[in-house]
């Protein structure tokens, strides 16, 4: 952790002063008059970003556990599809996956009149279900690979001991295997969540209005280029910092 003492070295004080000067320069010489007008929209966008991040990491992680397990110990007819899924997700750009789902399925659904008249249609015509699906699958693909390693690395002796006590297979999984695997991946989970945060702006390309989309809107409405982007970068840095801090505390427990 950074302590006050570490910050009090002469060169760091100079750097902080320079940095403060830079901030003041930014505040006064760049244009920020658009902020009040777009603040409500930006807050909504921020909320959408956070919501997307939380929902897709949780769902993705839940999907990653069976994916990892299938690859680590599953029979071939489960292991192979799981491995193929992870390879495809990790081997192609997320942007392409998002567009395939949104435009591909989007061009498919209208061909079936019963879909358009069904009760699901009001949801299917919106963009966020596709965003959630794409981001969830992506997180599951990357994390599934991590979970595979985590499941394989749980010491065999412990499992054998549990078996010799006559523990049923599912109890063994729930009590010994899963907790240890999760503990093994925890240090990487924070990093993976930050990567997921960095993936969320891609859904702006399919009309989901999250924080990145709001900054694009400001840029295209006002032709101001740098200011919204710099503020946006700052927002993401703060979010990434909060995630890192949260996971550090979580690990400490």
């Amino acid at each position: 952790m950074i302590t006050v003492k570490a910050l009090m070295q002469p060169h760091r004080i100079v750097m902080m002063l320079l940095f403060a000067a830079l901030i003041i320069w930014c505040a006064f010489s760049l244009r920020w008059d658009w902020i009040p007008q777009y603040a409500p929209l930006a807050l909504q966008g921020l909320w959408t970003t956070i919501w997307l991040l939380v929902v897709t990491t949780v769902l993705g992680f839940l999907l990653a556990v069976p994916l990892g397990l299938a690859q680590a110990i599953g029979p071939w007819y489960l292991a192979t599809p799981a491995r193929v899924f992870c390879t495809i997700i990790r081997g192609t750009p997320l942007l392409l996956q998002i567009w395939l789902l949104y435009y591909g399925l989007g061009s498919l659904f209208p061909q079936f009149p019963w879909i358009r008249s069904s009760e699901l249609w009001p949801y299917l015509r919106q963009a966020w279900p596709y965003a959630v699906l794409a981001l969830t699958l992506s997180f599951a693909g990357y994390e599934g690979e991590v979970m595979r390693g985590a499941f394989s690395s749980v010491a065999k002796g412990q499992l054998e001991a549990a078996k010799s006590f006559g523990m049923p297979r599912f109890t063994m999984f729930r009590r010994i295997w899963l907790p240890q695997a999760v503990r093994n991946v925890l240090p990487t989970l924070g990093g993976e969540t930050i990567l997921q945060l960095k993936a969320t702006p891609l859904v702006a390309t399919i009309t989901v209005v999250e924080i990145y989309a709001v900054s694009s809107r400001v840029r295209s409405d006002t032709f101001i280029v740098y200011e919204p982007l710099l503020l946006l970068a700052l927002v993401y840095m703060v979010l990434a910092g909060l995630i890192a801090l949260a996971f550090r505390r979580f690990e400490g427990v």
């Binding site: 061009s107 946006l232 840095m237």
Partner: protein, 248 residues
């Protein structure tokens, strides 16, 4: 089966994907993507090498500046960085050129893509290479020093060959990230594979055909580079004790 194919819009795939039709566009896009990826990866390695040395042996200020660089780059989405670097980069180059009395410098799309992704790659490469250099046993470098080898020669003859084995898996990962990140340049309008695919798809409405074809191309690049990097790793680790067969 044919019914399903027709519904998915895959009916005329072979025709649409032929080289004289849109297939040629996709391959041109792939060539652009690979060119940018190779350039960005190379630039990332150079930045990474200097960055790693700076972080390990540099002065206090260098180390702090590098820490800021790697932290910021790794916390901000690539898409946002690409936009910032894209606009800032061309602004700066033009200002410098004007300051020296020169005219406006034209920046090709490929060069801009390499610059943007290279800066991003550099931050990750710095961390990978720093880890790899640290993994080189100190004794080897000290031995070289005690023979009076100059610093640059130590780097070239001892540190780099010895760290290669440790660095390759991380670098392989970076290369894959570089190939996939080129897709983000579609958002600023570079005609790389993903944008070409999108243009072909929206011109013909054969969304599944083109997105699946592009996915296949990316996957081939990934799998092929995976195989190549596995060989490189084997070569880089020659003479080192195997890490795999050891007892756990």
């Amino acid at each position: 089966m044919t019914g399903l194919f027709e519904t998915l819009g895959l009916g005329a795939s072979a025709e649409l994907l032929s080289l004289s039709s849109w297939g040629g566009n996709l391959l041109r896009g792939l060539a652009n993507s690979l060119q940018i990826a190779v350039g960005a990866f190379g630039m990332g390695l150079v930045i990474g090498l200097f960055g790693a040395y700076g972080k390990l042996y540099g002065g206090k200020v260098t180390r702090d500046l590098l820490a800021i660089y790697t932290t910021v780059i790794r916390a901000v989405p690539e898409l946002v960085l690409i936009l910032i670097l894209y606009y800032v980069g061309s602004d700066i180059i033009n200002k410098i050129s004007e300051a020296f009395g020169g005219g406006r410098v034209e920046i090709s799309g490929v060069a801009a893509g390499i610059w943007v992704l290279g800066v991003v790659q550099g931050a990750y490469a710095t961390e990978v290479l720093r880890g790899a250099i640290k993994a080189v046993p100190v004794g080897q470098i000290e031995a070289a020093k005690s023979y009076g080898m100059p610093a640059f020669m130590i780097m070239r003859r001892v540190t780099i060959p010895a760290m290669m084995g440790f660095a390759v898996p991380g670098l392989a990962n970076l290369w894959l990230i570089a190939t996939k990140d080129t897709a983000l340049l579609a958002v600023v309008g570079f005609s790389e594979l993903t944008l070409e695919t999108r243009q072909a798809a929206s011109s013909t409405r054969a969304y599944f055909t083109f997105f699946l074809a592009a996915g296949f191309l990316y996957l081939m690049v990934t799998l092929f580079s995976g195989a190549v990097f596995a060989r490189i790793e084997k070569w880089a680790r020659r003479g080192q004790p195997s890490l795999k067969g050891g007892s756990s």
